[in-house]
Symmetry: C2
C-alpha cells in the first residue's frame, strides 16, 4: 500500500532545493540560501547530498573575482522527484 518515500527527497530543505531547481533549471548558492532561508552550513551539506546522489549537478566557478556555486537539476533528479510526488500522493489522499 504505502510506497517507501525516497529519504533523500523527504527532507524539508532538500525538497525545497529540488523544487526551486525544477522551475528554475539553474540557481546559485546565494539564491538558494535566500529562497530557502537556510543557513549556509545546512545548505552546503544538503547540496552535497543531492549532488552525490546524482540528483543535481554543481559547478563551482567565478563571477569576476567572487566564487559562485551553481546548481542544476539532472534527469535522474527530475525522475526521482516525480516518483516521490507519486508516492506521496498515496499518503496525502490526493
Amino acid at each position: 500500500m504505502f510506497k517507501q518515500l525516497d529519504p533523500l527527497l523527504h527532507s524539508e530543505l532538500r525538497l525545497a532545493i529540488m523544487s526551486i531547481l525544477l522551475s528554475a533549471e539553474e540557481a546559485d548558492f546565494v539564491y538558494l540560501k535566500e529562497q530557502t532561508k537556510s543557513t549556509s552550513g545546512n545548505l552546503s551539506v544538503q547540496i552535497d547530498k543531492l549532488s552525490e546522489a546524482g540528483y543535481i549537478e554543481v559547478e563551482r566557478g567565478f563571477v569576476g573575482k567572487r566564487t559562485r556555486t551553481v546548481c542544476k537539476i539532472t534527469k535522474v533528479g527530475i525522475k526521482a522527484f516525480e516518483e516521490y510526488v507519486e508516492s506521496l500522493k498515496e499518503y496525502l489522499n490526493l
Copy 2:
C-alpha cells in the same frame, strides 16, 4: 515562499498512520502495524508522539482477554494534516 513543514507529520511512518486514520476514523495497533509494515517498537513510539501532540487519541482496552490499543484521529489532527498537505503542495508544484 516555503512554509515550514510540520515536523510531526513530515515523517514517513507518522504520515502513514495519519493517512490511515483519516480514512478509517479508527484503527488498532495490529491493523496499523500490518498496513504500515512497521516494527512494533517504531509504531509504538510514533503513536505516542502523535498522541502527545493531540493529533490522535489512544485507548488501551481489552477485547476478551487480549489487550487492544485503538487509535482515532482528532479534530486537531485533521486540521494539522490538512495544513501539512497545503504546505507540501508548494514544494511539489501541485
